[in-house]
């Protein structure tokens, strides 16, 4: 089984978001970067599948050199080799084209990634890659089991889930509870240093959107505290002030 896992390099979930250069650039000052939490689930499931059935895991990131520590972490968790497409991941369309180009060369049985990145939350790359390659794409995938080249998955739908069957190859956008996040151990960290990390230039240019500016939401007003013995007052506020009842 050859598995391609696509990861994003994103600010830690506790990051305070701010912008610089006249609200056109993300302020990375003091930001800790992590593997996208959804991508981390995809990687964890890939490692389990490799343990069950053998094979290899290639991790792919579209990003500039500063993403390499994040890629090394994925190698430490259990990927065998990595590819970095040396470019700013400017939009979903551009990233999907890069992934499809790598996947087209590599004959992977499955392409796993997170259901969305936590910076732009597009939730689009898996579908675009599937369409570019002409293979099925499913998201958000909650479980993934393999039996030879047949996969059984559950996909979350509003108010529940559905079970699907399909053959490899396919693209899956993953979320919990597909696997538990894995923490790299010492051996993994040591071996990650010498695993291959190949840097390639972007296959094709072309974007579909252009960023104009960023902005932060308006500051939140103060909270109104109501006494626990006076829920009637709360009901009046919800009715007359918030107008939600």
């Amino acid at each position: 089984m050859k598995i391609l896992v696509c990861i994003t390099h994103v600010p830690d979930t506790t990051s305070r978001i701010a912008f610089t250069e006249n609200n056109t650039k993300f302020d990375s000052n003091g930001i800790q970067y992590i593997i996208g939490p959804y991508d981390d689930y995809a990687l964890a499931r890939a490692v389990e599948l490799k343990e069950e059935t053998g094979g290899s895991i290639t991790v792919l990131n579209v990003g500039t050199q500063e993403t390499e520590p994040t890629i090394r972490k994925a190698l430490a968790i259990g990927a065998d080799e990595a590819i970095r497409v040396n470019a700013e991941p400017v939009d979903s369309f551009f990233v999907a084209k890069q992934i499809a180009a790598v996947a087209g060369e590599g004959q992977y049985d499955m392409i796993l990634m997170g259901r969305e990145s936590i910076d732009f939350n597009g939730g689009m790359v898996h579908g675009m890659v599937g369409e570019l390659l002409g293979i099925p794409s499913l998201s958000p995938v909650m479980t993934l089991e393999l039996d030879g080249n047949q996969a059984t998955m559950t996909r979350e739908i509003e108010g529940g889930k559905e079970t699907l069957q399909l053959n490899t190859p396919f693209v899956a956008g993953c979320q919990e509870p597909i696997a538990e996040w894995k923490i790299p151990n010492m051996r993994g960290i040591m071996s990650a240093r010498t695993k291959p990390l190949n840097v390639i230039e972007p296959a094709e240019d072309g974007t579909a959107t252009k960023l104009e500016k960023f902005e932060l939401p308006p500051a939140k007003g103060d909270v109104k505290m109501i006494d626990a013995d006076n829920v009637g007052e709360l009901v009046q506020l919800l009715k007359n002030e918030a107008k939600v009842l």
Binding site: T13, K161, E162, F170, A208
Partner: protein
């Protein structure tokens, strides 16, 4: 300007978020055609889309489309954009809409933006505002291709009824085996309940509720409010509640009129899923709980005492 709107239905009714998508397209002053798939929604329900601004509804009433088959849906919608000469597609952000629209974008060579929060600005370049960093910021982006797809966030527009009614035409785009390569073998779905992403009011419980046996009072309050129920991540991790109720950074993102958080501490990852709610009410026994900083209304108290009293008070106020 011809605009196509993809509408979804649940239990035979068009989803509220899809009505908002139709209203959004109408507010863009386009000539609005909606498209619906599957045989479970009937003609009178479809023609009622005229009340929100659609002039025509295309209906591919193929039974195989009663389930949300991602590839087949994207083929039909791309074909409809073609046949209607629609350069713009509008749809609601959803567990089905997003993966479908991604494939449509490639098929039609369109610029696609999801999580759109406002009407586009078409005075110069075509730009839209969208939420990013899980609701912690916004970005304005321009869509540079001729064709454009907008997946809109709940409550991006206020729903207006226009009193119109739409003509319904059958649509029959051919589908092939590849469109059904991923076959849905079973569906496990709650019925008769308000769907969490669709709800105007959400009542959520956290670890402070101590165990799944205590959810009765959450459900009672939700019922009284006409609300959907949600929960924090540890609650779904421990199996107290099903995963599709998990709200937050790694779960469902909601933007209701009112979000009620009971026994939830307000970790930054939980807040990321609720920060675009219009109003937030927090009930927590710890006055230092971080959630109060993000709230509009707060009660410090024991949920086991406060929640039943609140349910009674709402009942009494009706």
């Amino acid at each position: 300007m011809a605009i196509l709107v993809f509408v979804e239905s649940a239990e035979g009714k068009i989803k509220k978020s899809s009505l908002e998508a139709v209203g959004f397209a109408a507010a863009m002053e386009g000539d609005v055609t909606a498209i619906a798939l599957g045989s479970e929604v009937d003609e009178s329900e479809l023609s009622s889309l005229g009340n929100y601004g659609a002039s025509k509804v295309l209906h591919q009433s193929d039974e195989r489309l009663n389930k949300g088959v991602i590839q087949a849906y994207s083929s039909v919608i791309a074909a409809a954009m073609e046949s209607e000469n629609a350069d713009i597609l509008v749809l609601a952000n959803s567990a089905l809409g997003n993966p479908v629209s991604a494939r449509v974008a490639i098929k039609t060579d369109a610029s696609l933006v999801s999580n759109v929060t406002e009407l586009p600005d078409t005075s110069g370049e075509f730009t839209v505002k969208r939420s990013i960093y899980t609701g912690k910021a916004f970005a304005t982006v321009s869509l540079t291709k001729t064709r454009k797809i907008l997946a809109i966030k709940k409550n991006a527009i206020e729903l207006k009824e226009t009193g119109g009614s739409a003509s319904v035409e059958s649509f029959d785009s051919p589908l092939n085996d590849a469109d059904f390569a991923a076959s849905i073998t079973s569906t496990d779905k709650t019925t008769g309940e308000i769907l969490l992403p669709e709800a105007e009011i959400v009542v959520s419980g956290g670890r402070g509720l101590k165990g799944p046996e205590n959810w009765g009072m959450i459900e009672d309050l939700a019922k009284e409010l006409g609300a959907a129920t949600g929960c924090s991540k540890p609650v779904s991790d421990m199996g107290w509640r099903p995963h599709h109720e998990h709200v937050g950074q790694t779960g469902v993102k909601v933007s209701p009129q009112l979000y009620v958080a009971i026994g939830i501490s307000g970790a930054i990852q939980h807040l990321a899923g609720v920060n675009s709610s219009k109003n937030i009410l927090v009930i927590n026994k710890d006055p230092e709980a971080p959630f109060f900083k993000a709230a509009d209304y707060g009660i410090v108290g024991d949920a086991f005492e406060v929640v039943p009293k609140l349910t009674e008070a709402i009942k009494a106020a009706k």
